[in-house]
Symmetry: C2
Subunit: 402 residues, 2 copies
């Protein structure tokens, strides 16, 4: 290698971006006294350690010959079975569901299945950078649709799809987080979901529904997923594929998620998985299966909700108590994030620099927009990681800087 | 979705092939009385269940707050540390090593880092289809180099590289399994390794060294890896990246492997991992770290060697005892496979159909060649999965069909 190896990089490798969020997390991690609302981390108190320790030991001793061996690329059959029962979709065939190495992994395979370089994905703006960079790494262009309090704005979605269609752009799918969205905390109501599905059906564009936070609802009524609506009300089972994660309800370190959708999508996604990871961790999958079968999951989720609800309330109350006039924020019914809008003259990227001097951290809103949309007066606050006392103190510090 | 979703598939998805080997394994799996030499499975007897059960329980109880949380995309720092000690490369920086979801995952990221559709990878013929399909899924073309008893033939490698260079093909890397190769069981000696490295250096083409079986040596002397040779004798640390697997020494269900190479390769590979899986299973990584730190790994490998050596010997002896004149086979010093060459008039694909009727299975050699090379009188036999008695009986059945 007399010549530098970089000359051999593929086109995507050569242009691959740094993750700004990872840089921010590095700056804020491990600083004594720092109150961080920056990450998207679940609280370590939410991990069911005793139960998992017991189940891992049991599964490996009793089922080790099976779970330490190579497993199916579409996932452990016991886990799929348990999952179908837990999700109350027992009628689903094994060809309509696959287990993934966390839900980003499913989003990656979905993208890999449909995207050629230059193809377009329509997404929310602001949106989740983890998914966006996974999509961009496959060569996708992102077209951002702005949001109101109920999520993606239907008229703007329709106009954008029409414009892309007229320009002969290859639009491959629509990506949404309809519940407690990351970063905005917003939730699409039932009508908004119907509107988005109707537009997708009209243009013949499938939807990827990302639902990492769905189980973490602290108030309001549970709403049918786009995936359920498309299958039932719209009688269109090909239209929506859903991705869910166990990161927020078991522990992200276990890297478990799943995707459910039509066999025409799940089939090729499994083939991509064969070539990329062969399969998720088989022992961990079986442990999750036994966890669900023993009835722990529902109880454990209720326990996490009881842990996080007071944290959300503490943050919303602290914002109401401390923030000056002209600052507004979303009222999330679940999930992990509140989205704050500052007066237009305040730049949240500048505020971030001052905030970390004062030992409070957040992610500036500008990091959540795709290229072409510039918004500098917003920020994302996480309320799942810190306890109520720290939340009140952190919001107070932040308000003091405005 | 009035129109079929298949119309939206990316180009690679549309042409993605079925795995013939997976089809074969399906046909042979669970058939009563079937003796299968087809798979590449470790014996379940080789899984250290008691130790793993204890360590999983311990790690999750004591370190759960850490290992159930999101972890670094390049891998758990304790596991990297333990691995460097075990591999006797304590001088390696953390930027030169990453943990992967099995070694195929590392091979995928290496390919993703370098390959644009249409680029060329030079590989052994016969070669490992799992890697080949991962490479083809990134759009790579494979140029197969034939092998003699010592692996890839240097003259043919040089001629092929020269020809590709003259045709202005973008050759991105050379892929080899230098030890107990899958499928042939062959091992490159030290001189052959030097020759291959010298040619790669001459053309400025990096090498991906796949070493899934390295720890499983039953006879002969351990040989320096290409990776070590390039760093030391050739003073060229950018030239070789090595991928290793824990599938054969701990259990493939745990999905653990690692890649070590220059930061210029490991860095972008980690970025691809961020977008594809975020990280490997963090609990499993920590368990593997504690397994190594406690000194179990070397003892456990010795135990597996004592399990597999008699199986290899049983297979080689049975072949010598049963096979008619004109049949030859390799003498693997380790690993899991023997490669059998039949008289030219015998078609191993036809033989396979008759063999499964007689309840013995193997993989026909034709499945291991890239497009352009047709060889129909070879077959691969696995000796790690069945015990000595079954091996003798299976080889005898097979010989009876010749």
């Amino acid at each position: 290698m007399k010549q530098p190896i970089e000359r051999l990089y593929s086109q995507h490798t050569a242009i691959m971006k740094h993750s700004f969020i990872r840089e921010i997390l590095k700056v804020t991690k491990g600083v004594p006294g720092m109150i961080s609302f920056a990450g998207g981390l679940p609280s370590p108190d939410s991990f069911p350690r005793e139960l998992l320790a017991r189940l891992f030991s049991q599964v490996i001793l009793e089922e080790g010959a099976d779970v330490l061996q190579y497993g199916a690329s579409d996932g452990d059959r016991f886990f799929k079975q348990a999952l179908k029962a837990f999700e109350e979709v027992p009628y689903l065939s094994d060809e309509e569901i696959m287990i993934t190495v966390g839900s980003t992994n499913g989003i990656y395979y979905f993208t890999r299945t449909l995207i050629d370089p230059g193809d377009t994905i329509v997404c929310e703006a602001p949106g989740f950078p983890g998914s966006v960079t996974a999509m961009e790494s496959c060569g996708a262009r992102l077209a951002g649709i702005e949001m109101d309090e109920l999520g993606m704005i239907p008229d703007q979605l329709r106009d954008t799809l029409r414009g892309l269609h007229d320009r002969k752009a290859a639009v491959k799918f629509i990506y949404v987080i309809p519940e407690f969205q990351n970063p905005s905390g917003r939730t699409m109501d039932l009508n908004r979901r119907r509107e988005i599905i109707a537009i997708a059906a009209e243009f013949g564009i499938p939807i990827l529904e990302d639902q990492p936070y769905r189980e973490l609802r602290y108030s309001g009524e549970r709403i049918l997923t786009l995936w359920e609506l498309a299958r039932t009300e719209f009688d269109d089972p090909q239209l929506v594929t859903i991705a869910k994660s166990f990161s927020k309800i078991l522990g992200p370190g276990l890297r478990l998620g799943f995707a459910a959708g039509p066999p025409e999508m799940i089939g090729p996604m499994v083939k991509w998985a064969q070539k990329t990871t062969v399969s998720p961790d088989c022992a961990t999958q079986r442990v999750a299966a036994r966890f669900i079968e023993a009835g722990h999951m529902r109880r454990h989720i209720d326990w996490i909700i009881d842990l996080y609800r007071p944290r959300r309330d503490a943050m919303l109350n602290a914002l109401a108590d401390c923030m000056p006039d002209g600052v507004t924020w979303t009222q999330p019914e679940g999930g992990m994030f509140v989205w704050v809008t500052l007066p237009p003259e305040i730049n949240a990227d500048d505020l971030f620099e001052r905030a970390i001097q004062h030992k409070v951290a957040f992610i500036p809103g500008s990091k959540f927009y795709p290229a072409g949309i510039v918004r500098t007066n917003e920020l994302r606050l996480n309320f799942s990681y810190s306890d109520e006392k720290l939340i009140r103190e952190g919001v107070s510090r932040l308000a003091g800087l405005l």
